[in-house]
C-alpha cells in the first residue's frame, strides 16, 4: 500500500529535523542549506500550536439536533428569513427573535470536487469529495459527499443529508448522500 499524505508529510519533517539536529551538533547552529538552492535556512527553535476554543453557546440547538439525527436552521420570526449556517441575529430586521426549524435534508447536488491534495490537518484521510447541495427549502449546504468517484456524481442529482459520526475523531457532523 502506498503511504498516506500524512505519513509522507511526517517523514519529511522528521528527516529535516534529524538533519538539523546533526548539523547543530557539529556547528552549534540550527542552520541548514536549502536542498535545491543551497540557501542558508535557520530552523525555527520555537514552535506554536493552535487549537481554538470557539463559542457555539447561542447555536446549541443545532448540536442538540445533530444528537437527534436532525439538521436544524434558524428562521427569523419577523421577516421569515431562513438561516443556514444558523445564526441568532437577523441583520435585516435588527432583531434576535428566531425560531429553530428542522430542515428536510432532501435536495439536489449543485456542485462538487474531490480533494486530492489535502491540508495538513486532513492528511490522515483518503481523498474525499466535497459538494454543495441545495435543499428543498432553498438553502445550500456544504459537506462531504459519500462517493469518491466524481464520474458517479452529476450536477442536479437527488441527494439527502445524513447526520454521521466522523471517524477517527468520533464527532457528529453531516454528510451529503446520493439518493439516485
Amino acid at each position: 500500500m502506498s503511504k498516506s499524505q500524512k505519513e509522507m508529510m511526517e517523514e519529511a519533517l522528521k528527516q529535516l529535523h534529524m538533519f538539523v539536529e546533526s548539523i547543530k551538533k557539529s556547528t552549534g547552529l540550527p542552520i541548514v542549506p536549502d536542498q535545491k538552492s543551497g540557501a542558508a535556512l535557520w530552523y525555527d527553535q520555537r514552535q506554536i500550536t493552535n487549537k481554538y476554543l470557539i463559542s457555539v453557546d447561542r447555536i446549541r440547538p443545532f448540536y442538540d439536533g445533530l444528537m437527534d439525527g436532525k439538521l436544524m436552521a434558524t428562521k427569523c420570526k419577523h421577516c421569515g428569513q431562513l438561516y443556514f449556517p444558523p445564526q441568532v441575529d437577523c441583520p435585516k430586521c435588527r432583531k434576535s427573535d428566531m425560531e429553530w426549524v428542522e430542515l428536510s435534508r432532501e435536495g439536489e447536488l449543485i456542485t462538487f470536487t474531490v480533494i486530492n491534495i489535502k491540508p495538513a490537518s486532513f492528511a490522515h484521510y483518503p481523498d474525499y469529495t466535497v459538494g454543495i447541495a441545495r435543499l428543498k427549502e432553498g438553502i445550500n449546504i456544504t459537506a462531504w459527499v459519500r462517493e469518491t468517484d466524481p464520474k458517479k456524481l452529476r450536477i442536479g442529482m437527488k441527494v439527502r443529508v445524513e447526520v454521521v459520526k466522523r471517524e477517527p475523531e468520533g464527532y457528529l457532523t453531516y454528510e451529503i448522500v446520493p439518493a439516485e
Partner: protein, 396 residues
C-alpha cells in the same frame, strides 16, 4: 472624488522560492526599485501601507519589520489584509490617503514569504481562508477545492473541458517564459497540463498558481507632486471594491464571482468605461488567474465575453497579444507566481510598466488607448478589486 492620484514609481522582486532572502530583504528588493524609479527618498514618503496575509511566515508584525529595514521609520504605517486581494487593498488605501489630501506621497508594498512553512501547512492556511468553522473545520476544503467547485459548475453549464482550462495555463506560461521576474520561465503544452495529477478534481497541478515568495511596491503621489517627479505619471482612474459571503454555500451561482462583477461595475462607472463593451477602451489587463478557471470567470465577470463565452476567448486565443484583449502578459498568477498579498501590487507595477511601454518586447502590449485594468480577487470571490490605470489624467 478628491484629488487625482498617480503612480510615480514601481518596483518588483523576482518571484519564486526565495530562500535566499528574509521577509525584510525581499520587501526591500521592490521598495528600493520603487524609490529609485520615482526619484524620491524615504524622507519624502509620508505614510506606507504594507499588505501581507502571513500565518505561514514568522513575523507577526511585517509592517514594522519592513519599515525598520527599509529606513521608513518614523513614518506611519499599517498592515492590510484582503486575502489574495490584499495588494489592491493596500493600493486603494494609499490612493485614498493621497486623494483625500492627508498626504502627498504614499508607498504601498505587498510582501509574502510563503515558503517559510512546509507545503501542507500552507495548504492548510489557504484552505482555512474561506469560512473556517462551517466549511473548513469539518470538510477540509482547500483553495483549489473552492475553485474546483466553480470549475465543476461552469464546465457542466457551458460545456468547457479540462483541455480548455489547460489552454489558459499554456498562454500564461508562454508569457511567463518571457518575464524575467516570473517564477516559471518555461512554456508548457496542453498535453503536459492534462498529464499533471489532480489536486482538486477537476483541477490539476498545472491549473494552479504556485506557492510563491515575492514583493512588489508602488509609490503614489498627488497631481502636483506627480508632475514634478515624472513625465509619465500613470493615473489611478478608478478602483471598484466589493465583497461576497464567507460561506460559499450562501451563494446562489457557481459560474460567476458576484464580487468581481460588482467591483467591475463600480470601476467602469467611475472611469467612464462602457460596461457593455469594455475591451474597446482597454489595451491590456491583468486578471486573477489563481486557477485557470478563475481567468475564464474573470473574462465574463469583467464583460470581456458574454456569459458562457469566456471559454471561447481561450479556444480562439483572443487573449494573446494581437487578440481581442491581451490578458496576463506577465505570466499571471499561474506562471509569474502568486505571493498572496504581493499580487495586487504586482499587477499595478506590471500595468504601469506596460502603459509606459517598458516591459520585455515579446510581452509588451500595444498601447493605443492608454488604459489598463487589474482584476484582483481575494479568497474565493470573498473580496474583489478592479483597478483602472490610465496614461491620461481623468477628466472630472
Amino acid at each position: 472624488m478628491g484629488r487625482q492620484v498617480a503612480i510615480v514609481g514601481v518596483g518588483h522582486s523576482k518571484f519564486g522560492t526565495r530562500h535566499d532572502a528574509n521577509i525584510a530583504e525581499l520587501a526591500w528588493e521592490s521598495i528600493r526599485q520603487a524609490l529609485d524609479d520615482a526619484g524620491v527618498g524615504q524622507e519624502d514618503i509620508e505614510y506606507f501601507v504594507v499588505s501581507n496575509a502571513g500565518g505561514w511566515s514568522s513575523e507577526p508584525l511585517p509592517a514594522v519589520v519592513v519599515g525598520e529595514y527599509a529606513g521608513l521609520n518614523p513614518k506611519g504605517t499599517v498592515r492590510v489584509e484582503a486575502a489574495c486581494a490584499s495588494g489592491s487593498a493596500a493600493l486603494k488605501l494609499a490612493h485614498d490617503i493621497v486623494a483625500s489630501g492627508q498626504a502627498d506621497i504614499v508607498l504601498a508594498v505587498g510582501i509574502e514569504k510563503m515558503n517559510e512553512s512546509p507545503t501542507p501547512t500552507v495548504v492548510e492556511y489557504i484552505g482555512r481562508a474561506g469560512n473556517f468553522f462551517w466549511e473548513f473545520q469539518n470538510f477540509g476544503l482547500t483553495f483549489p477545492g473552492y475553485y474546483a467547485l466553480y470549475a465543476t459548475a461552469y464546465m457542466h453549464k457551458y460545456g468547457a473541458t479540462e483541455e480548455d482550462l489547460c489552454r489558459v495555463a499554456v498562454k500564461n506560461h508562454y508569457y511567463g517564459a518571457r518575464n524575467p521576474k516570473a517564477q516559471f520561465q518555461r512554456e508548457i503544452t496542453v498535453e503536459a497540463c492534462m498529464n499533471s495529477r489532480y489536486v482538486a478534481w477537476p483541477l490539476k497541478l498545472f491549473d494552479c498558481s504556485p506557492i510563491t515568495d515575492g514583493s512588489a511596491a508602488v509609490i503614489v503621489a498627488s497631481e502636483e507632486i506627480a508632475r514634478k517627479l515624472t513625465d509619465t505619471p500613470v493615473w489611478i482612474r478608478a478602483i471598484g471594491a466589493a465583497s461576497d459571503t464567507s460561506n460559499l454555500s450562501k451563494r446562489t451561482d457557481f459560474t460567476s464571482l458576484r464580487a468581481a462583477v460588482e467591483a467591475a461595475r463600480m470601476a467602469y462607472r467611475k472611469a467612464g468605461i462602457d460596461p457593455e463593451n469594455p475591451v474597446k477602451h482597454i489595451d491590456v489587463a491583468e486578471v486573477h488567474d489563481c486557477f485557470t478557471i478563475a481567468e475564464i470567470l474573470a473574462y465574463e465577470d469583467l464583460g470581456f465575453a458574454k456569459r458562457g463565452e469566456g471559454v471561447k476567448l481561450v479556444r480562439e486565443e483572443q487573449t494573446y497579444i494581437g487578440g481581442l484583449i491581451p490578458v496576463n502578459l506577465s505570466g499571471g498568477l499561474k506562471a509569474k507566481g502568486h505571493p498572496i498579498a504581493a499580487t495586487g501590487v504586482s499587477m499595478a507595477a506590471e500595468l504601469t510598466r506596460q502603459l509606459r511601454q517598458e516591459v520585455e518586447k515579446e510581452r509588451q502590449a500595444t498601447i493605443n488607448k492608454g488604459i489598463a485594468l487589474a482584476h484582483n480577487v481575494g479568497g474565493t470571490g470573498h473580496y474583489a478589486y478592479v483597478t483602472i490605470l490610465s496614461l491620461e489624467k481623468p477628466s472630472k
